[in-house]
Amino acid sequence: MTTRIDARFADLAKQGRSAFVTFLMAGDPDPKTSLDIIKALPKAGADIIEIGMPFTDPMADGPSIQAAGLRALKAGMTLKKTLEMVRGFRKDDNATPLVLMGYYNPIYIYGVDKFLADAKSAGVDGLIIVDLPPEEDTELCIPAMKAGLNFIRLATPTTDDKRLPAVLANTSGFVYYVSITGITGSASADSNAVGEAVARIKRHTKLPVCVGFGIRTPDAARAIAENANGAVVGTALVDALRASLDSEGRATPKTVGAVADLVTALAQGVRGAKQAAE
């Protein structure tokens, strides 16, 4: 089974460069603006798009992404509407991989089988669920693989060599290396340490390894892209979005452009990287 994610990495390998992966929260600051932003991302240089599923209690997220989720929920976002947004995106773009990222409870309440069927038919390619470690694979990971969706696992600095095989066992699409022990948007990643960590993971898997948490600038994105198969930026984009809002937290005419401009700059950083890690 080849997903859009597999196809995209194969294509990037031919081009000899790393992926630029963006994260934004579905429905932030409102469902319509959010869809407009997502639609603008591929042209601005996003290779893979992660869409956050808003949740009231995002335990691994820092203040920026917490606030983004609350803005989205306040604007009436639900998991059902997130899947509608994916459908809206797929009307014009059948190539860019879409990954839903979030926490398990809204999916559990939606119903795992129904969610997987609806996500697949909407055009979702992969899932990253923060609070489902390999110990809980029977919940969603195994069913997702059967449904033809990639289940992308997080590996962290605390995932040692002994544990890595378990973490990688049912992972597909790519491995998401969390470059710091911490929440999103807190510390900055050291690109040398990241390089060593990526090399360590690659000794255990042939999957591409993308790196996220703590990447905010084009320079940082380039440095990471030189050491990994992809660089993920989330909090910096969410912050740019927030800065474009009016005092009531509503979208302004600048909002879509503010995010797209930063994506363009970061994508140039990634594209400026020397040959990516093999």
Partner: protein
């Protein structure tokens, strides 16, 4: 009753931390290796007689155990039914049952070489117990507490700070216990190498629900012995309040396989079950939050709802996973008491017995006031007086003053 009833109610959880479908380990990968380390460290400690002996020494001479089992004669006369006994956990050092668990966890943390302890707290009782034992063992202590709770539980905030703890007021969400737990988990993810997370209730990822229950089971174990001594038999019923449910689990667990013992847990019904409340079993359904699957208050989209209770210690939209299982198997009956009922119980108990209970066990007393009169005079009812009311006096004074105007 559920057709798949187990032979014993006391064998859980399984090796993956499940009580039926409840429990589990729903945490970020960053924490997972540490949770496995903790599971191992706790298993080692549990099997080590020296650990038990050291803990028993502190329980006796530092905490002040055993706590008395007291016959509440005037309350019994007033209600005119069951013979009511109080398990006096409020007499423990630090003023509640929380210290039983904190002592155990701090001793495990010491075995693991952790020097920094974090905790979440609602009413502040768990925070005070944690700050106390960190002072005793010279450990750094950071307590996360919802900003709303910091306001309504000032005496405990002052105590924690005097004990040398740093109290962090949490501004996210409804700024109560759930949000304090989120921020404690965020701290833990960030400082995973140095830090031990001392969870205050029978919730969170495995092994916490089991470990906290084990440390609290001293309550039920003593109650069995003391009732044997006082009345020569088992009690007929047990009543305890439930937020996360650690005082209740501690009392209940040693009696779960005694079918003659009726067991009642009392959730906080806040303004009433059709309005804002904190009764996860009465008003919730199974979901996943804070590392475990359990009954939660949430909306149709699986978003967690803010709980409400007059009692900061019960103001949580979830409940320990073992309680969810005991509910579904029918072994324990889960009731609920409103803010008003708890306030009335607080006043009654203070006047009749000279014991101002914390607002948390006042919920249990409120249901005793309903249950006891319907039972015969030879019925032995034990209620867990899990904390003392000193911390609540400023809040209750304000509420009662507001009514006189």
């Amino acid at each position: 009753m559920n057709p798949n009833l187990p032979n014993s109610f006391r064998t859980g959880p399984d090796e993956r931390g499940h009580f039926g479908i409840f429990g589990g380990r729903f945490v970020a990968e960053t924490l997972m290796p540490l949770i496995l380390d903790l599971e191992k460290a706790y298993a080692d400690a549990k099997a080590d007689p020296a650990f038990q002996a050291e803990m028993n020494g502190y329980l006796k001479n530092y905490v002040g155990r055993p706590s008395p089992l007291y016959f509440a004669e005037r309350l019994t006369e007033h209600l005119g039914g069951a013979k009511i006994y109080f398990k006096r956990e409020e007499l423990n050092h630090t003023g509640s049952h929380k210290v039983n668990n904190v002592l155990g966890q701090i001793m495990v943390a010491r075995r693991m070489g952790k020097k920094r302890i974090i905790a979440e707290t609602g009413a502040g009782q768990h925070g005070v117990a944690t700050a106390t034992l960190c002072a005793r063992f010279g450990l750094e202590c950071v307590v996360y507490m919802g900003a709303v709770d910091v306001e309504r539980q000032q005496p405990n905030v002052i105590r924690m700070e005097m004990l040398g703890a740093k109290v962090v007021p949490v501004q996210s969400g409804a700024r109560t216990l759930k949000d304090a737990m989120n921020d404690a988990l965020r701290d833990w993810v960030t400082n995973v190498h140095s830090t031990f997370y001392c969870i205050g209730t029978v919730a969170g990822p495995h092994p916490y629900p089991m470990m906290v229950r084990d440390f609290q089971s001293i309550i039920g174990i003593e109650t069995r012995e003391q009732m044997q001594e006082a009345e020569g038999r088992l009690p007929d019923s047990l009543v305890a309040c439930i937020g996360g449910g650690s005082n209740a689990m501690g009392l209940f667990h040693p009696f779960l396989d005694d079918p003659s013992v009726e067991i009642f847990g009392v959730e906080a019904a806040g303004h009433g079950l059709t309005q804002l409340h904190a009764a996860s079993i009465a008003g919730g359904r199974p979901g996943v939050l804070h590392g475990n699957r359990t009954y939660l208050l949430m909306d149709e989209d699986g978003q967690i709802q803010d709980a409400h209770s007059i009692s900061a210690g019960l103001d949580y939209p979830g409940i320990g996973p073992e309680h969810s299982w005991l509910h579904e198997t029918g072994r324990v009956n889960y009731l609920s008491a409103t803010d008003e009922e708890a306030l009335a119980a607080f006043q009654l108990l203070t006047r009749l017995e000279g014991i101002p209970p914390a607002l948390e066990p006042a919920h249990a007393i409120a249901k005793v006031m309903e249950l006891a009169p319907k039972r015969p005079r030879d019925h032995l009812m034990v209620v867990n007086l899990s904390g003392r009311g000193d911390k609540d006096i400023p809040q209750i004074t304000e509420i009662l003053k507001g009514r006189k105007k």
